[in-house]
Each structure stands twice: as C-alpha cells, then as structure tokens.
C-alpha cells in the first residue's frame, strides 16, 4: 500500500538530509533498513503507535537546537571503577575513552567492523531491529540501522571485572547524533552496561542485544539533565534459555524522550525485567514503549514504570505482553504508575496483554494519583515538615522501580540523584 503523500514527503525530506556511511560488511543490512524506512515511512502523529507522543521533531530534516547544560555536579557513575567509552555529540572520542581492552570482553568500534568483511557483529547488525518491526513498525530504528554513524560492538565472553560505561556528552547546540550498538553475551557470560548523558541535541540510539543461553546482562542508564534535548532510543533484546536481562532507566528532564524496549524471550526459563523511573517538570514528555514477546516455556517478565510529574509534564506508557501459543507457564507482570503532583500534569497509559497460551499468569495494572493525604498526615504528625514528607513519599513511590537495579551501590547513586532533583525543584 502506498504511503500517504504527507508521510512520504516527510520521509524523503529526512532521508535527503542524511548520508549513508561507507559501510563495508554492514552495507547490505543498511540498504535493507533503508528500504524498510521507505516502505513504512517515518512516524507521524496520525499513527496509532504515536498517538500520545508527537514525533515531528524526531523526524524533521533538521534537529532543533538544544542548549548545553552546564553543572559542577560530577557525572553519574564517576565513583565507580568502569571501562569508559565516551561519545561527544555522537562521535567516539578516543582521548576521553579508556583503552577498549578488558578481560572477558572485546569491544570494537562500528567503524572498524565496517572495514572488515567478516565480523561476528555482522550476523546481528540490523537483524534484531528487523525482527522487531513486526507486528508494530518502528521506523526510527530502521532509520538508525541505515544511517548510524558510530557505535560499538561489545562481545562478552566471560565475566568482565568492571562495568562497561557508555558516556554520551552533549557539547554542541546543534548536534544530531545517530548511534548503533551491538551486544552479544555468550553462554554463561555476565556483564553490566551503564549508559549516561544527554548525548546530543537530538539523539537516535539503537542497541541490539543478543543474550545466549545462561548469559546475563545488567543495564542501568540515565539520560542526563539537559532540558532541551530530544531522544528516541530502541533496545532490541533476544534472549536464550535461562538468560537474564535487567534494565533500568532514570530520566530527569528532557523535553522529549521516547524509550522503546523490544524483548523476545526465545529460550525456556529466561527472565527479563525492565524498569524506569522518570521525574518531569514543566515542558516535558516521557514515553516508555515496551513490547515483550514470550515465545518459550516458563519465562518471567516484569515491567515496572514509575513517573513523577508536575507543572504540566506528560508521561506516556505503552506496554504490551504478547504470549505466543505454546509459551506455557509464562509469568508476566506489568505495572505503570504516575504520581501527579498537581492538576496540570497528565499520564497516558496503554497497558496491553495478548495471550495465546492457556496456562499462564499475567497481570497488569496502571494507576494515576496524587500524594496520599493520610500518609502525609502521618509523617507530619511525627514532626516531619510538609516538604520533606512529600519528598519522602515521592521517593517511596519510585522505590519499586529502583529496586529492579541489582547492584546496591548503583541503586544508591540513582536514589541520590532523585533526591537532588526533588531538592532542586522546590
């Protein structure tokens, strides 16, 4: 079916502004992705999947400028021993990065893979993204596969002694970055990947993750404090037998964020947990779009998303659990909740279950509410000032999401960032 004229025009305008990098072994995958983009067209606000989040500024030919936020606050995760991989406005910075060598893992830049004819990442580049295009199209991810200008391929074969930390610095007001990472966790291997920073004025990031049988990946990310930045991110995760994937995202500020998680449980007894805590104030829209497919027996999935909104901020959650025929003993859980600190903010939620197996336990819930007056009274009756009491209840509300972070020290720094946000925003 031909695309509507407006959509086709918008898509072609965006494509005209991009050049495909000299691609080596990823060329075929990139050309196929470009064909997918042309076929699907870039998102427009008439699309059902973009009903609550206007994609205009994410698909426009030029990115809108975004002021760079300066702070004396140390970068998140600074106190942790980790292997740093730094991108400045979407360009790898060898000077700021550590030597990309660590036992149990090999890390290559996308650029280097592109020069090689044979590389493991070739088997994955654009593959999980292409799989994730059905049943719901995700054209921005295909656009990413076609035009990504940088990124890394992380091959985890053992248990690296420290986390791998991707740092995205934003230094130019007009930057428009497209990054694509590939992660393969081998059988029995285990790694923690950290991501933090605003990245660019406009950021399109795609990460394809393949976890083999018994592999484990912990992912903790924070999206920086720059308020005017816009980002659309995708994580496509394919999981083998008894594999574990745990992902947590912290978002404070950012005028527009769309985070998509597409997870496919293909091996029995696998476990996927995705969680997010977002706190927004004013001109802020945060969209968590999650699609979990159970295609194996006895897998567990959990989605825990909590949003604190005020001064007209908007939160969006579109989460789906699809249980395929034969995926018996599935345990699926999904909760999305918002704490609205005033009457001007809104939370738009679309929780969905689609189940084709008859022996499963799936639950979903979604709530929007204000601070509990009774709880507030209880705290105040013990002498806690109203503002402190409100902060305490807000943190307690976010706790269920933060608890999904396995490492207590990492969870601790996330909580302290949330406390800072609350203290600043009075």
């Amino acid at each position: 079916m031909a695309l509507p004229q407006a959509k086709q025009t918008a898509t072609e305008e965006r494509l005209a502004a991009l050049t495909m990098p000299d691609a080596g072994c990823t060329r075929k995958a990139r050309e196929a992705a470009l064909a997918r983009v042309r076929e699907m067209g870039l998102p427009s606000r008439r699309d059902e999947y973009w009903k609550y989040t206007r994609p205009d500024t994410l698909v426009s030919a030029e990115a809108l400028p975004a002021a760079v936020f300066h702070t004396d606050e140390p970068m998140l995760f600074n106190e942790f021993d980790r292997l740093k991989i730094v991108f400045v406005d979407g360009v790898f910075s060898p000077d700021a990065s550590d030597d990309l060598k660590l036992e149990g893992v090999t890390i290559d830049r996308l650029e280097d893979i592109c020069c090689k004819d044979i590389h493991w990442a070739k088997e994955l580049y654009g593959v999980l993204e292409a799989n994730g295009q059905t049943p719901v199209p995700r054209p921005l991810a295909a656009l990413n596969t076609a035009f990504a200008s940088d990124g890394v391929a992380i091959h985890v074969t053992g248990k690296p002694s420290k986390p791998i930390s991707l740092i995205y610095r934003h230094e130019s007001e007009t930057s428009d970055a497209i990054l694509h990472h590939i992660v393969r966790v081998e059988s029995g291997a285990e790694v923690t990947i950290l991501e933090n920073g605003p990245a660019a004025s406009r950021f399109n990031k795609c990460m394809e993750i393949d976890i083999a049988d018994g592999g484990k990946l912990h992912h903790v990310r924070a999206q920086g404090r720059d308020h005017q930045r816009r980002s659309a991110t995708h994580m496509f995760t394919r999981m083998g037998q008894e594999s574990v994937y745990k992902s947590f995202t912290l978002t404070v500020n950012g005028v527009l964020t769309r985070n998509e998680q597409v997870i496919e449980l293909t091996g029995d007894d696998a476990m996927a947990h995705v969680a997010g805590a977002c706190v927004g104030d004013g001109d802020f829209l945060h969209d968590d779009t999650v699609f979990v497919t159970h295609d194996a027996v006895n897998c567990e999935s959990r989605q825990v998303f909590k949003k604190v909104l005020r001064n007209g901020a908007t939160g969006v959650f579109q989460g789906k659990i699809l249980v395929k025929e034969g995926a018996q003993k599935t345990d699926g859980y999904q909760i999305s909740q918002s704490l609205l600190l005033d009457d001007d903010s809104q939370f738009l939620a679309k929780p969905e279950l689609e189940i084709y197996a008859d022996d499963v336990a799936c639950s979903h819930g979604s709530t929007s509410g204000a601070i509990d007056e009774t709880a507030l009274f209880y705290l105040r009756s013990r002498g806690v000032p109203t503002e402190d009491a409100t902060d305490m209840l807000t943190l307690a509300f976010l706790a269920e999401a933060v608890e999904e972070i396995e490492d207590e020290d990492l969870a601790g720094v996330i909580v302290s960032r949330l406390q800072d946000w609350l203290a600043r925003r009075r």
Binding site: L379, R382, G383, V384, D388, A396, A399
Partner: protein, 154 residues
C-alpha cells in the same frame, strides 16, 4: 529510616538542639531497634511498604523512643499483640519513663498494666471520667467488672 531521621532532626530543631549526625543516628537507632527486635531490613524498608500489625506497633514504639516526646498517648497499644510482643512494647515504654515525661495509656484490659505499672487509673464511661484511683482500681475492675462502679456512680 530516612523518615525517622528527618523526624528526629525536625524535632531537635524545634527544641533548639543540634542535628544528629548520620553516624550517631545510626548508632542510636540500631541499639533501640535491637531492643525491640526490629531487624536491619525492616529499618531499610520504604515508608509505605507493607508492615504487619505487630511490626507497625513495634515501629511506633521505636518512633516514640527516637522522637522522645514529652507526652505520649498510647491508644489501645495492646490490641492485636501477642503476649511476647506486648512485653516488648511495654519494655519500650518503661525504658522511656522518667520524671520529665507523661504517658496516657488507654486500654480495655488489666493485662497491659501488669507490664506498665500506672501511677493513676481513671475509669471512663460515656466520655466522662467516673472514678479515679491508684493501680489497685484497675485490679478491682479486672476481678469485679465495671458493673459495680457504674452502679455506684449512678
């Protein structure tokens, strides 16, 4: 725990005392929690995450011990507690008793008063104090019921 610390420091501020440092606070709360058999995990629990009835009671006593109020009203503290828990709670109360602090303990039974020895007992009916006396008054009620006293008054 954050809640208690904030509350304690807010109280200290109101009394014109210095804030407790995090380390001092930890030392004190750990000792007091241990006496009430509240384990470290419970201290870490977020404010609004499910406490059982008994845990709530012990938690309240811990709060009392930390906040050191001048006047404590314990309204049917003994309801829903088993014998051991009641003993713990009573010990918490007794530890706080001193000349500078008052307790108003409200109960239906003498049982609690075996552990917390009252100075004065008031009997209340229909919203009025109808008889006052020493600890022996509570014992008398335990043996004879309220009927005698009610008849006497009427």
């Amino acid at each position: 725990m954050t809640f208690l610390r904030t509350a304690v420091n807010a109280q200290r501020k109101a009394r014109g005392e210095e804030d407790l440092s995090a380390a001092d606070f930890l030392k004190i709360i750990r000792a007091k929690a241990k006496a009430l058999k509240i384990d470290a995990d419970m201290l870490k629990r977020p404010v609004n995450v499910g406490f059982s009835g008994g845990e709530k009671k012990r938690n309240e006593i811990l709060q009392m011990a930390m906040l050191e109020p001048k006047m404590c009203i314990l309204d049917e503290t003994d309801s829903g507690l088993d014998v051991d828990a009641m003993k713990l709670v009573s010990e918490g109360v007794n530890a706080l008793r001193d000349a500078g602090r008052s307790f108003l303990v409200i109960t239906h039974y003498q049982r609690l008063l075996d552990h917390i020895k009252p100075d004065v007992v008031h009997i209340m009916a229909d919203g009025r104090i109808i008889k006052s006396g020493g600890p022996e008054l509570a014992l008398e009620v335990e043996h004879n019921g309220y009927a005698d006293i009610l008849a006497e008054v009427n």
